[in-house]
Each structure stands twice: as structure tokens, then as C-alpha cells.
Point group: C2
Chain length 352, copies 2
């Protein structure tokens, strides 16, 4: 059932003043703000209707109304004006991102920090790799008599290396031999397949040589593991404490623990409705218990060919959705522009 225009204006006024003040909104305040030339009594009637329909809630008999989850939902879907960013703000964002094309994760980290600063809410970031990553090539470089560098490059263009110490020196031909074995037998394999291949090889290879191969392959497996592992990072958790709903520590603590690295519970359900690239989860729409009274606004962006990143803002259901969505979407766009398909694949070792 569609709401009358007047009801919508009232709902909108309530949501926005509640967002601004964090206190239940009464009919008087609405009368002033909604720009309607009706008395408070009329508004009270309309508010009673909206309460019946589930868009508003009453903390107790005689306080003002606050929006329910459904109320926020409606507001977000239909009523909200997209805010424009000021030139200054876009400037700030660009500065933060363009400093220099550094490593992927560092940029993302910094992006999170800046987003947190300009939105006044905590921010999380996540990068999810595609399902199957393999090693594209191995390189070995002798550096001293008793050490070489193993360089591993994955098919999503991440390059990592490790200094390997060896008890006895290695001749150049031996090194090339090693390199040949690695490149012929372990390229194009996923982590699990590598493990298998390594097992099979053990029986029919000289122990000394096998040990070295295993060392490098295990490193490669670690790299692959590190790639597919979801990297969850947060920034600005202390912003939580600035909002009245978290003045009580009992409220703040669990959410903060969830956001900081401490809790080992499964992370945010990255249920990005595929297709859409901006997603708003309001209060109970969050699956996770720690987020029941929390809203999450998240956006996704592309990283290179085969990865997708998510960046999101966490706050009380009374979140300034208009402000947050405006900033967030600009951010996500900028990130896609930086890392997206058009650009060369992400450079450098994109270590954690």
C-alpha cells in the first residue's frame, strides 16, 4: 500500500531529524521541519498511522517516534536525496588515493582510513580473490654462496619472493635444473593440486633435490593461500564511540571486538547482491548477531581481472545514509578506476 505524499514527507522528516539528533522525534519538531502547513495534531494522526504500518516505533508510550528498520528501508529506497560531495571532499579523496600508485593493500588501507575520517564511522575493507589461483611462473636468483631468492608469480599478477638459505652451495646448472623442474611441474596448479604433485614427486626424486623443491613449492602454496584468504581490515573503529548509541560500553564492546581483529567469528557476510554495486543492510537485515543493531553500507569495486574488493561503512541504524552513500559510491568508483580492468594489473607484491 502506497503512502500518501504527506506521510512520506513526515516519515522523511522524522528519519532525518532522528539521524541528526539521535533522539525520538515529536510531532512539534516534525511540524516545523516537514514544511507542511498543518497543525501538530494532524501530524500526530499521521504518525499514529505510520506507527500502525510499521514504519515508526515508540520507545515508550509518551516519547517521540523513531524510525523502524522498515522506516529506514523506505527512506533509503525512495525518500533519500543523494548528497553531493563538495569539491573539497572529492579533492581530499583524490589526494589520498593518487599519492602514488603504491601497493594494492596499502592504497586500500589508506582508502579505508580516509573514508572513515570523512564519514565519521568505522570502515571495513575486504578483498576477495577469485576461486582458483595458480602459479604462473617461478624464478630463482642466486644471491650468495649459500642463499637464493625464489620469486613466485601468480596468474593474478601478484609477485612474491623469499630468501632461501641452503646449507651447501648450489651451482648454476643445478639452479637452472631446479627452476626447470618447478616451472614444468608446478605451474598452473592450484594449492591442493600442488600438494598432490609434491607428494607424488617425493618418491622418485633424490632427497637433496626434493628438499629444495619442497621448500620453494611450500612457499608458493603459502602465497596462494595468502591470496585466496579474505583480507579483512578495519579503520576508525573508535569513531563508534562518538555516537550516542554506543555511549554505554556494554553496547560498544562486542561490536568493537567484532570489528577489530580480535574476534574469530566469521566475518561480514559479503552477500553483495551481485550486479548491484552498492548495498545497504539495515539492522536486522544483517545476518550476523553482532550487527543486529547496526547498519552496514557497502560497495564493491573491481581489482584487476579476477578480484573483487568490498569497502563498507558500519554504524548505528541511525546512520546518515545520504552522506555515507554519497561518499562511499564516489570512493568505490575511484577505486575501480584505479584498479579496474582497463588499468594494468595490480603491480608490486600485494602483500598483506
Amino acid at each position: 500500500m502506497a503512502l500518501s505524499d504527506r506521510k512520506k514527507r513526515i516519515l522523511r522528516a522524522i528519519v532525518e531529524t532522528y539521524i541528526a539528533t539521535a533522539e525520538p522525534v515529536g510531532s512539534k519538531a516534525v511540524a516545523q521541519l516537514a514544511g507542511l502547513d498543518v497543525s501538530t495534531a494532524t501530524i500526530r494522526n499521521e504518525m499514529a498511522d505510520l506507527t500502525d504500518q510499521g514504519y515508526l516505533e515508540q520507545p515508550h508510550t509518551s516519547a517521540g517516534r523513531i524510525p523502524s528498520a522498515a522506516g529506514y528501508r523506505l527512506y533509503v529506497n525512495e525518500l533519500m536525496d543523494r548528497q553531493q560531495l563538495t569539491l573539497q571532499e572529492t579533492q581530499r579523496i583524490n589526494d589520498a588515493l593518487n599519492l602514488k600508485m603504491e601497493e594494492l593493500d596499502r592504497v586500500i588501507d589508506r582508502a579505508g582510513k580516509v573514508l572513515s575520517q570523512i564519514s565519521d564511522y568505522p570502515v571495513f575493507t575486504m578483498a576477495a580473490a577469485k576461486e582458483r589461483i595458480t602459479v604462473k611462473r617461478f624464478d630463482l636468483l642466486m644471491v650468495e654462496e649459500n642463499a637464493f631468492i625464489a620469486v613466485v608469480m601468480t596468474d593474478n599478477s601478484v609477485v612474491k619472493n623469499k630468501l632461501v638459505h641452503i646449507p651447501d652451495g648450489l651451482s648454476d646448472p643445478q639452479l637452472q635444473m631446479l627452476s626447470a623442474v618447478l616451472n614444468s611441474s608446478f605451474v598452473g596448479l592450484s594449492r591442493e593440486e600442488m600438494e598432490e604433485a609434491l607428494d607424488k614427486m617425493e618418491t622418485r626424486t633424490a632427497p637433496g633435490a626434493f628438499e629444495l623443491i619442497a621448500l620453494v613449492v611450500e612457499f608458493a602454496m603459502e602465497v596462494l593461500a595468502g591470496q585466496s584468504e579474505q583480507k579483512f581490515r578495519t579503520a576508525g573503529i573508535t569513531h563508534l564511540l562518538e555516537h550516542p548509541e554506543y555511549r554505554s560500553l556494554d553496547k560498544a564492546k562486542p561490536l568493537m571486538a567484532y570489528l577489530s581483529e580480535e574476534s574469530d567469528v566469521p566475518r561480514l557476510p559479503a552477500t553483495l547482491d551481485s550486479g548491484k554495486n552498492m548495498n545497504i543492510l539495515i539492522g536486522p537485515e544483517n545476518v550476523n548477531d553482532a550487527l543486529k543493531d547496526t547498519s552496514v553500507v557497502m560497495a564493491s569495486y573491481d581489482i584487476g581481472d579476477n578480484m573483487r574488493g568490498v569497502i563498507g561503512v558500519v554504524g548505528p541504524t541511525r546512520m546518515d545514509y545520504a552522506k555515507v552513500t554519497a561518499r562511499l559510491s564516489y570512493f568505490a568508483d575511484s577505486l575501480t578506476r584505479m584498479f579496474g580492468k582497463e588499468l594494468p594489473a595490480p603491480e608490486g607484491d600485494s602483500e598483506e
Copy 2:
């Protein structure tokens, strides 16, 4: 002026019960706990003396006493029993550290997390590199027609790489030429010296070649910068909220902001009294303002040949010093044993 044995016992009892309860300690409680067979009145007299001498403080005329900074200092220096760790606890620490010799920073991160868990306080870690770091060698690997990997190894055995895309292909001899220039002109130079050398070279080199050189050298300079930059990390900040002195958000917020990445103010004064490898800073002894009401217990450990790490615990002045120092010193020892000089230099790219 030395304190009588009885005064010391009383002071000790006060410090320890205050640490346990976070509430001012009265003469009655001391009478029971100090194990002295004297009346509360006597103890009151002694406590008055201790207050005069500056070891105790009175929040208001008629509450119990709490230790002053000087009182804690005395306690830490003379009165405190070193706690023994239980077998279980050492086990836990060892498990956490020995999982696998992974990258330096990851191990340190994990160490911080575990230390925070077993001490119930936030923990910070820092790694300070030696003053002058240089590049030990460059390697270039062609990977595709239009990209190569630049591998940079520093003299503290850190290896990093970057994928460099180039518009036009590069022949093998050209690549070797490039490598030769880099290795002959930029090895052994500090960051600043590199910059100079690069400037000089600009005038007398073909533009196309120079561009590539500059690309790699700039990357190397970034690596050096990253090495000398102090890496400050924290774990378990939310533990702060568990302690009554930070129940009021106004108290907790600044400290939390300081500890999390948000504040850009200069970090902890790593004024490790050189020589000593365990350091306790009590309240006002901290230079930084954000730490005025906070105690910091820190220990240092060696990393390889030329780096030194600091790991520390932050908490209210009413901190369980005995517990914390015991755990911390064990931790620092274990870390030194892992990364110290006897072991091969830290392996792998020790990226942040």
C-alpha cells in the same frame, strides 16, 4: 630515606589490593592482608606517613588511599615478586610463535595478539631499523613481452619486488644493460644518495633508458623508506574497555584513538634505556600527553643483525605489573631467540 620494613609491607599490600580491586584501600583491608599483627590505628599512622612521603594519595578526605606514581615506582623496583608463568602459558606462547617461521611482521603481529590476550591489556609493537640501509643488489626478470619484475635486495636481507610494465618490449641485452647500470651505480647508496645519483644521471643518459632506470630506482627508494619507517602496530585495544578506569568514554577515547592508527601524533617515545631490555614507564613518566594516566611496560628484542624491535603493554597505572612483566619478558626472550643474531637473517619479503 629508606622505609621501614613495615611501611614497605603496607605499601605493597595497598598496591596489590588496589591493582586487584581498582578501589581505594582502607586501613582495615590492609590490616587483614599485610599479615601484620597490629591494629588498624597503627596502620593508619603508617599510611599517613606514606602519604606525607608521596607514596600514597587520597582521592578525597575520607576515602582509602591509592598508590601515587612514586608508590608504583617503588613497588615495581623493590617490592614486586616476579610471577612465574604456568606451563600452560608458556605452551600457549610457544604455540603461537612457532607455528611456522613465516614472515617477520606476521609473527610479530601474532605475538602482539597473543600477548594482548594473555595479559588483558592492549599491546603495541614497533620495529626500528638501523640508521643507514642500502640496496645490496638489483635483479630484473622478463616475464612477458611488456613487463618485467624488478627484485631489490637490501643489506638487511629484505627482498622486495615489483612488476613493471613497459610500453615497448625490451630485448634481453637491453635488460642486462639496465641491470648492469643499476648494480654498478646504485648499490650501496642510501635513499638520499640514490636521489642525488639519479639526478646526476638524468642529464647524460638517453631519455628512454633513463625512464626505466628511474622507475626501478624509485621503487628501491620506496623499499628503503619502508624499511626505515617505524612500523607501529597495535593489538587488543578493546581490552582497554574492560578496565574500570576507562569506563567513562571520555577517558577511553583519546587513548584508544592514540593507539589505533588514527592519530598522527608522534608515536611512543621508544626511549628504551639502552642496555636494559625491560622498561616500565609509570603515568607521568610518559612524555606523551595521551599517556599521562597510563603505564607502559615494554621490552625490546633483536631482529637479525641490524634491527631492534619493541613490544609493549599499555594499561592504567593500576596495572598488574607482576603479571605483565613476567609474560612480557618471556615473550621478548622468545622473540629474540627466534629472530636474534644466531638465526639466519629474517627471510622472505618482510612487507608490512
